[in-house]
Each structure stands twice: as C-alpha cells, then as structure tokens.
C-alpha cells in the first residue's frame, strides 16, 4: 500500500513541491490536497496584472481541477483544515472530515497584516492577497466608486495602486516613511519611481500615519495622526504579510515568526514538512517566489526519500510588476563599511543604476529605468564573482561582451518574429507561446519544449529575461546547480568528492554519491569520466562508452553520419611529404571535401566510418598523428612566421608554437583549448582570442589568457610578461593544469575566468612561484598517460576494433 501524503495549502509553494515530487517519485504517495480557496492552483504573483486588466484569472491558473483528477490527487478546494491530531496522524477540517497521513506538508502561506485601528473591519476595507480581493477591487471600480486609498508604499501596495488607477479610480498611496519601497530601494531610485508614478496620476501622502478608518458600515474616509482626513470608497491595506502559523501553533509544532524548519524543510515533528511563506528557515522568512521554488525542490527530494539535498537560504531579487516601469533590486543595496558604490545617473533618460561592491564582489544592486542587466548583476552577486577585471565598465552591462547569433539584448522590445535562438531558429513569439500554453516555469523546461537556448546557450540570458518578464523571478536556480538531473550535487561538489574520497571509477562515483539513475546519462557520464582521468591520471581508466562519439572514435561526426579527419600540423607547419600523403589519402578513399581550417590545418570531410583506421594508418605512415580536432582537449597552436622570415618578427613564434604543441598535445581539458603565438604585437596569429595566447615583444613574451572567438567574442586578459621561452612554457602548462583541475566540464576558459576572476588565476600562476611549478609538474605528469596517438592505436586494429566494423551483415 502506498503511503499517504497530505498537503495543507493549495498555493504555489505546496503545489510546486508536489510537481517536483511527481516528477521524481510519481507513485510513492496517495496524495490529498486541502485548499481554502475554491479554485485550483493559481499564480499569485500575477494577481497584479489581473487587477490592472492585463491578464484574466484563467490566464494565471497553473493547475485546473482536471490536473488533480488526472494525477489521482484528491483535492478538497474550499475546505479549511482546523486541527491536526499528531498522535493519530490525522488532519481534521471545519466540517469534521478526517484524513490520515503518513507525511504531512504544511504550505499555509501568509496572511496580510491588518493595522489594528478603529474601522479596519468596515466593508470596503480589504487586503491584496487572493482572487477574492482582486474581485472586490474590480467590483468597486466597476460600481463607479471614486476614491481609493492604498495604505503601504511597498511592492504590493504600489502594484495594487497602479491596478486600481488603471481601473479608473483616483488613488492615494499612504506611506509611513518618506521613501517608497524602502526595503528594496535607496532614496534616489525611490524618488525617481515616485515621480514617474505621480506623472501617471497616482497621489502620495508620505510620512503619514493612519489612525482611523472612517465610516458607518461602509468606509467613507481615512484619518491621519496630524488630523488630516481624506475621502475613501475603498481602502486597501498592503503593509506587509505574516506567516500563517495558526494551524501549526495550535498543533504545538514549534513556531517563531514562522513554522521553524531545518535545511531539509522538516519541522520539529519529523513527519511534518513545511514550505513557502509560512516557513522560518535559519531565522529568515521569505515573501518572494524564487526562494519558494528552491524550498520546493529540496522538500520534494526528501519526501521522495532521496535525502541528499539541502536548502541553505536564498538571496532574493525584486522587480516591480508595473508595466512601463523598470525597477530592479537585489541584495544589500545600502552599502556599509568597506563597501564602494558604483553609480550611473542619467536624468534625461530616466536611468539610475547603483551597484554596491565590497572587495570587488557585488553585494547588491538597485536599478531604475534600465534593468536589462539585472539578472546578470544578480548572478554576479550569487556566484560571488570577482569583478575587478571589468569593474570599470560593469555599469554599461553585459552587452559589451558581444553575443553572436541573435539580434540584440533587449528582449522586451523585440518583435514576436525576432529570432532569439540562432542555433535552432526559435523566435520570441514561439517561446512566449510555449511558456503560456505549456505552462513552463524554468529555463530547462523552455529548452526542452522549444529548443531555445538548448544548443550553444548564448541566448540563455534572453530566454531568462523572457521568463522573468512573463512570470516574475521564477528562473532563479540555487547557487549550486546540480550537475545534471541524475544528481543533486554540483560539478564542484562531485569533483571535490572524487578527489577527497579517492574515487577512480564511474561506478564508485555513482555509488558514493547515490546517483539517481543506474548509469548516469549523456550529460553526466562524459563529465565524470573527465573528472576521473584529470584527477587520477595514473589510476583512472578512461571509459570509452562515457565519451561522446567524436572522442570515442577520434574523428568528428558529420550530419550524414560520416566523419572528418584532421591530422596534426605542429604549429601550423607542414611539408611536401605530409601534403602528398594527405592528397593520396583523399584520392584513395574518395574523400569528397578537403578544407583548410581556421587552426592552420587540413580537414578531410566525409570519411566513412569503416575507412577511418585505414585513413589513419596511411597518415601515420607519413608521420602524422591525430589533431584532436574532435575533443575537449588541446586543439591547435596557431602561429605566424615570426623572426625566421618576417621583417617585423621579434621572436621565433613558430618555434615556440611547435614546442608548446609538443608539450600539450593529447591533454584532455574541460572544454576545447586553443593556443596561438604571434611574433610581434601586430598579432597575425590572433593570439588575443585564444584560451592561451603568446604575443612576442622585443623584450620577451606577453602571456594572455581566457580569450574566445566563438559564441561570445572575448579578448584575452593579460596574465603577465615573461622573459624566456622556458618561462612561457611553464606558465602555459600551469595555466592549463589549473583549468583542468578547477574548470567545470564544458566550461571554456573565458567563462571560467569570469567566474573565478583574473586575480585568482594570477595569484596561483604569477604570484605563487612554487604553486606554478607544482601545477606545471602535475600537468607534465598527466601527459605521460595522455600522449599516445589514438589513431596509431586504432589503426593497429588492437584498440576498439568493434567501433569500426559492423557486427554482421544479414539477408
């Protein structure tokens, strides 16, 4: 018999937990849901657009009644749970219904706070919390009521005021302090917001304390401490929310401000969990949606008995959902000791941006008028990124990094037919439609349904912006993203475990970290295989079935299932013998296309798989080896001709390039790794868009790192300058090794460098001489096992022969 799970509270947090639970353990529980409101589950944070007439109630429903029926969930809508009998494990409703539980989930949410003043119970005094409140407001507006007073100039109050104004009422916002949204805005941004709302017709009474609501049965006016009275046909109280803990308190479950839970979302009664606004976790309560999502995920994991996920609290960001007003706030925006403020103010454009920075790390942000980069700043904040490298231009936004493959950066201003994902040809309209009709909430869901952002990922920011614009801040994922759906653990955690526990086999990782799938998936297996061989080069066994096909057969699969073959040309040098061998191979195996690559080599395209070993044997015979053009590995070292020939050349760039390539070929890296050596600052080898680039100067060698010519064009950053070739080689090896040890799988050096900061890399490579030598030594040590030509092994027929021959021919 299945265990019984009862959910009290049919709101967003509780239902999200159920949805997560149903995905990972669909058959574990018989589920019963109690909701006080007589509807299915709806998106509460979209009530403001409903009030403003921009959306209908139907449009904000997440799960209608059929949804519950289809999943065999018993829904008691409109039934209030009044007590729990914890000894007998039963919930009891107002009408006497008794339902037993094995596990109970409390998601009772919060209640709006009513100021305890005379008249707060009059008809026409309401809060802004649920669909009923919205109906009451809409009814008042339609009945021709004129004056609305909103008490509370916070997020919710302003959204209510804006909605009422749009419904034709004259609205006065009353706020106790002089600063609107003081929990999210500084004085400057608050003043700009107020000016812009006044321009739209809202009136403000600042620093006003309400002492009474006037009227007999129905509200007629509001009186303030200074004696002022203003007329009112409708009063909306939006001064804050309180966790709804009545049921828990009455059942003697430990509560403080909210129901106290631990990092697994468990209350003091181990059979009872709680999520959402009713919860107090590590002393914090949350009223925004993103934290609820994270809590739901953790809670579902524990309800499913996986037991390997923890909630560690959330950093939150806020956006005001008032159409036409762009406002963003996150973290600590008021600064403090040792904090710097970086400010941009453009009065004419109505733009204000402030970042609070401490030790070159973003602590908080307030933005008004131009919030396109809000998500980016928030990401920098959550990931604690060192911004010293781009601090001087940080306020100009992420746009200066230059995304390729799609139209622009302001997704909201784009037309529906504007293409957002250049890889898969997905336009904005298609994504919007999928989000609306398929009820998508997360980036992963959008990727799965539309393929947008699912290939190269360069449009991820745009898709996240769209999600945020349409749904509020849903797409916030926990700081530590799981490596893939097979686990809750992040890349960094998995790596650390592999190192500390001395794990050398995939099976050991799956077992030790309790993988949810029997043998992983196409995302985690290649990552784990890399982590194992990079961490334990002499012990781990390369698992070819965990490699992507290109690395398994050492050639690049093409769209028609044939392969391309690129022999290595050291430093871009070749000779008549090699060229003859390439020409002969192309003739002999009827290779349809021969092309010069961007990395100074020759690509043979359209080779049949069964011909690969024979092609390699012929190339090997002329002295050529694999160019690893197919791998997450060292690709090429591009060079210019340097001082041997060039009248400007300052050093032997070709020679250094060859040496670098001889040292580094064959090494596996988190993502592809490209190098170049230019013989003078004219930089003909384009060294400043490579992962590691050397620019020779008369006095030595400039070493540049973290460049990228691909999706995001990114110039390198200067690591340092060295005097000799030997030093350049040592720095190159050390840099590659640091990246191999710390970069996440499929993370190029550019995003890695942005994540950890150039200062971090300098500390390890430039400032710490001992550390650099140790890194370089570790690199050379692992090369002993890596520098075996995979083509020669396979051309001999002794390795992986099964890859290249059909099993049988029948019929």
């Amino acid at each position: 018999m299945r265990e019984k799970l009862v959910l009290v509270g049919n709101g967003m947090a509780g239902m999200r937990t159920l949805e997560e639970l149903l995905t990972i353990a669909p058959d574990k529980y018989d589920i019963t849901v109690f909701g006080a409101e007589p509807y299915g589950n709806y998106n509460r944070i979209l009530l403001s657009p409903v009030l403003a007439g921009e959306k209908t109630v139907d449009q904000i429903m997440i799960n209608d009644l059929d949804w519950y029926a289809e999943r065999d969930i018993t829904l008691h809508a409109g039934k209030e749970v009044v007590t729990l009998n914890r000894a007998r494990r039963q919930v009891i409703t107002a009408d006497g219904t008794t339902v037993p539980y094995d596990r109970l989930l409390l998601a009772t949410g919060s209640q709006p706070f009513m100021i305890p003043i005379p008249g707060n119970d009059l008809s026409g005094v309401i809060t802004f919390r649920d669909i009923q409140d919205v109906h009451a407001m809409l009814d008042a507006a339609r009945a021709g009521k004129k004056h609305a007073v909103v008490i509370g100039g916070g997020l919710l109050g302003l959204e209510a005021a804006n909605g009422l104004m749009k419904q034709g009422m004259e609205v006065t916002v009353v706020h106790l302090l002089d600063v609107l949204m003081e929990r999210q805005l500084d004085i400057e941004a608050a003043a700009m917001l107020r000016a812009s709302l006044e321009e739209r017709g809202l009136r403000f009474l600042m620093g006003a304390q309400t002492v009474a609501i006037l009227g007999d049965e129905r509200v007629k006016g509001v009186r303030f401490k200074d004696g002022l009275e203003i007329p009112a046909d409708l009063v909306v109280m939006a001064v804050g929310i309180r966790p709804n803990t009545d049921l828990a308190k009455q059942s003697k479950i430990h509560c403080e401000r909210g129901i106290v839970v631990n990092d697994t979302m468990q209350t003091y009664d181990p059979r009872i969990y709680a999520v959402g606004e009713c919860v107090q976790h590590r002393g914090q309560t949350y009223g925004l949606v993103a934290p609820l999502w994270e809590q739901a995920r953790v809670c579902a994991n524990h309800l499913a008995r996986y037991g390997i996920s923890r909630y560690r609290g959330s950093v939150t960001s806020t956006k005001l959902k008032v159409t036409g007003i762009d406002l963003f706030s996150a973290g600590n925006f008021s600064g403090g000791p040792d904090c710097d403020e970086i400010v941009l103010r453009d009065q004419a454009r109505g733009v204000y941006k402030k970042l609070v920075v401490k030790d070159n790390r973003v602590q908080g942000a307030v933005m008004y008028g131009d919030t396109i980069d809000g998500n980016w700043y928030f990401q920098l904040l959550r990931e604690n990124t060192d911004v010293s490298g781009f601090r001087d231009s940080i306020l100009f936004g992420q746009a200066h990094l230059g995304d390729a493959g799609h139209g622009g950066n302001n997704v909201l201003a784009m037309a529906d037919e504007a293409e957002i994902c250049g890889c898969n040809g997905v336009c904005k309209g298609a994504i919007v439609k999928a989000i609306t009709t398929q009820k998508l909430f997360t980036l992963e869901e959008v990727r799965a349904h539309t393929k947008a952002s699912a290939s190269c990922g360069s449009c991820t920011g745009l898709v996240e912006q769209l999600l945020t614009a349409m749904l509020g801040d849903y797409s916030k994922t926990p700081k530590e993203k799981p490596l893939c759906p097979c686990t809750e653990y992040s890349h960094d955690h998995v790596r650390k475990t592999i190192r500390e526990q001395h794990l050398t086999r995939l099976r050991a990782v799956f077992d030790f970290l309790e993988w949810k799938t029997p043998d992983g998936c196409h995302s985690c297996r290649p990552a784990l295989n890399f982590y194992l061989i990079a961490t334990w080069p002499s012990e781990a066994k390369d698992d070819s079935q965990s490699r992507f096909i290109n690395e398994r057969v050492h050639a690049n699969i093409q769209k028609d299932g044939t392969y391309s073959v690129v022999p290595r040309m050291w430093g871009g040098l070749t000779n008549p013998k090699e060229l003859r061998a390439i020409a002969d191979v192309a003739d002999k195996f009827q290779i349809p296309t021969v092309k010069v690559t961007g990395g100074q080599r020759i690509d043979l395209l359209g080779v049949k798989k069964e011909d690969l070993p024979k092609v390699w044997a012929d190339l090997n015979a002329a002295g050529m080896v694999s160019g690893h053009a197919y791998g997450k590995s060292l690709r090429t070292v591009k060079t210019c001709v340097g001082s041997d020939w060039c009248r400007f050349g300052t050093q032997d760039s070709t020679g250094l390039g060859v040496k670098l390539e001889k040292m580094t070929w064959g090494s596996w890296t988190p993502h592809k790794f490209k190098m170049a050596v230019s013989g003078c600052p004219r930089n003909c080898a384009e060294a400043t868009i490579k992962d590691f680039g050397v620019v020779c100067v008369d006095s030595g060698y400039e070493l540049h790192v973290g460049g990228n010519g691909g999706i995001k064009l990114r110039g390198t950053e200067l690591l340092c300058k060295v005097a000799t070739e030997e030093e350049a080689m040592e720095y190159a090896g050390a840099f590659m090794q640091l990246y191999r040890e710390e970069g996440r799988y499929l993370e190029r050096t550019a995003p890695w460098l942005e994540r950890v900061g150039l200062a971090y890399v300098k500390r390890h490579i430039v400032e710490d001489g001992e550390g650099r030598k140790a890194l370089h030594q570790r690199f050379l040590a692992s090369q002993q096992y890596a520098q075996v030509d995979p083509w020669a092994e396979r051309a001999s027929g002794r390795v992986d022969a099964h890859e290249f021959q059909p099993l049988r021919q029948v019929g």
């Binding site: 297996r525 079935q545 299932g561 019929g811």
Partner: protein, 116 residues
Amino acid sequence: MHDWHEIGALDDIPRLGSRVVQTPHGDVAVFRAADDQVFALRDRCPHKGGPLSQGIVHGHRVTCPLHNWVLELASGEAVAPDEGCATHYPVRQENGRVWLGLNNVVSLATATRETA
C-alpha cells in the same frame, strides 16, 4: 512474421554500447544495456536521421549523437517533450548468442520507402 537471424555473441557488443547490423532494409543498431539486456532499433534518429548506434547508452535509453534526442530502447519512442519514434525490432538471447528478428513485410515496405 519474423525471420530470426543470429548476429553474434553478447560479448561482441560492448556494455552501454552498440553495434550495427547491416540488413537489406538499412542499418539496425543493436544496443547492450548495463544489465545485459539487448535492444534493436533502426539506426536512424526520427529527428534528423542521426546514427543512434553512435550515441551514449544510459539505462534503457540512448542519446542521439547529433542533437541529443533521447529515445527509449524498448519502444523507439522519443522521450518527451520530443516526439517521434524509431522502428524497433525484437531481439532474443540464447546461450550467449544474440538473435535479431526482422519483419519481412513491414521491412520491405520500409525499404521501398527509403529507396523512393
């Protein structure tokens, strides 16, 4: 009706890997899961014709090497939200030998379509 063909030993197929059997109606990918169950699908992804035999096998699924569609080995069905299906063929194991069942009538029809 199925014609059964002996195609080789179980150990000729790597665990979590695949081999190709060439048939008159096109290539068939024969997969071996970690639990030694064997499955056979037409070696063409329903998406853009990628060779499924070259994909990564995990659980009872395979990921196409071209665009990461994931297909169920037992049914050939694409895992939601992708939609599509690769033809699947019956497989039998006897004394460490693997047999593949090819349906004459349907296969011929497929073959005709392919040449057309």
